[in-house]
Symmetry: C2
């Protein structure tokens, strides 16, 4: 073992993957990179970890600096560290990700660095290994959503069954059978039917539901049944 | 955004958490640290990421250097980055972990740096935030083992029901009811009963079983039922 002073110091980048659900689509937040190399190419929200902050704080600072967005809980995905991933210099990137209700944050976005929300199917070419980062984050998200009702957090306080189905269809890029999906969903016992109907989105109207949050923990297992081939999302 | 040359470079440490199952206990591999600060205190296997290797390679190199162990697949846990975690200097640590069959690797260990296997309940005080790293790795392990038959990999090719029960008891630190456990285990359809009995560990003998690996993927869900309060291990 050798001394600290003999060790090579490295640049540590933080890259943030922000997925947003707008009620119909899941979108990814990207930005035009402001420095060389690859200046003006599409990139994740990125920056470098500073000397006096932990990496969670760095991720929060970078996201705020580039977009104005605050109060978003991001989770670590993993470090990407191929020695040739950045042509300029050796940079290890620690990747964070989050899934948010886009409607809730849309107003927060500042335009200074021209951030853009793009649907998952229309993501342009991204710099370095950012495309791979997004794919892995999406995989992790699908895995978690199959096991926990995490993505329910993206729905408004009161929601309809078609709204949930839309959300699950977006996350898994799968068309669900409407009747089957509703039946499985209701069988979890997690939803509390309300008296009012949503009559804006259909003539017939669809009943509103609320989530019984007290049952979250006990019932999460039922969510396994939602997703066909959930195994394929397993790590 | 600023240029690379204006950014602070940091030391990136790699710490490896190796859990080993010896048939009766799960043990943690620790070592006496060979440099200041905290020289000669108990530590995880650690070192610094070099300039021309990715972090997976660094973890493999460090583990081999300190213990002689090779061929172990380690997974990233997460980065630990409290600015004051190492009193000497700002060091971010990327933590890796693995669970191995200790009996298979025992011969491989070199004594140069005095590595030691200690039962989970007898872990001495560890340097820095290493104790917290171990607790998080254990939590992640329990989570994964509740969802996937990963820990079956630790059993010999042919094994008995008491052997599996011992393994699960170790991972979860729980006493399982013998009959209940066997019933749930067999109901997964994952085990293939053999004709021979193990007569070494009991007079009456216990039938050997083999794992039907082709059913791994389809059947993983059944494993949820093994663990009481699996929810509490959920992230």
């Amino acid at each position: 073992m050798t001394r600290y002073s003999e060790q090579t110091k490295l640049l540590l980048a933080i890259d943030c993957i922000i997925f947003g659900f707008d009620g119909e689509n899941i979108k990814l937040l990207i930005i035009k990179r402001g420095m060389a190399p690859e200046k003006n190419k599409w990139s994740l929200m990125g920056g470098f970890a500073g000397p006096r902050e932990d990496t969670d704080q760095a991720a929060t600072r970078i996201l705020k600096q580039l977009t104005g967005m605050e109060g978003i809980y991001m989770e670590q995905l993993r470090a990407f560290s191929d020695p040739s991933r950045d042509p300029e210099e050796r940079v290890i990137s620690l990747v964070y990700y989050a899934l948010i209700d886009l409607r809730q944050y849309k107003e927060q976005i500042t335009e200074e660095y021209h951030p853009a929300w793009v649907p998952l199917k229309e993501i342009p070419e991204l710099i370095f290994d950012h495309q791979q980062m997004v794919q892995e984050a999406l995989r992790t998200l699908r895995y978690k959503a199959a096991l926990h009702p995490v993505i329910f957090e993206l729905l408004p306080d009161k929601f309809t069954l078609p709204q949930i189905q839309m959300l699950y269809s977006c996350v898994y890029d799968i068309e669900f059978d409407k009747r089957n999906f509703s039946r499985k969903l209701l069988s979890t016992g997690l939803l509390v039917k309300q008296k009012e109907k949503d009559r804006i989105n259909s003539k017939k109207g669809a009943f509103f539901y609320k989530l019984d949050k007290s049952k979250y923990k006990d019932k999460f297992r039922s969510f396994l049944n939602f997703v066909p081939n959930a195994d394929s999302f397993m790590m």
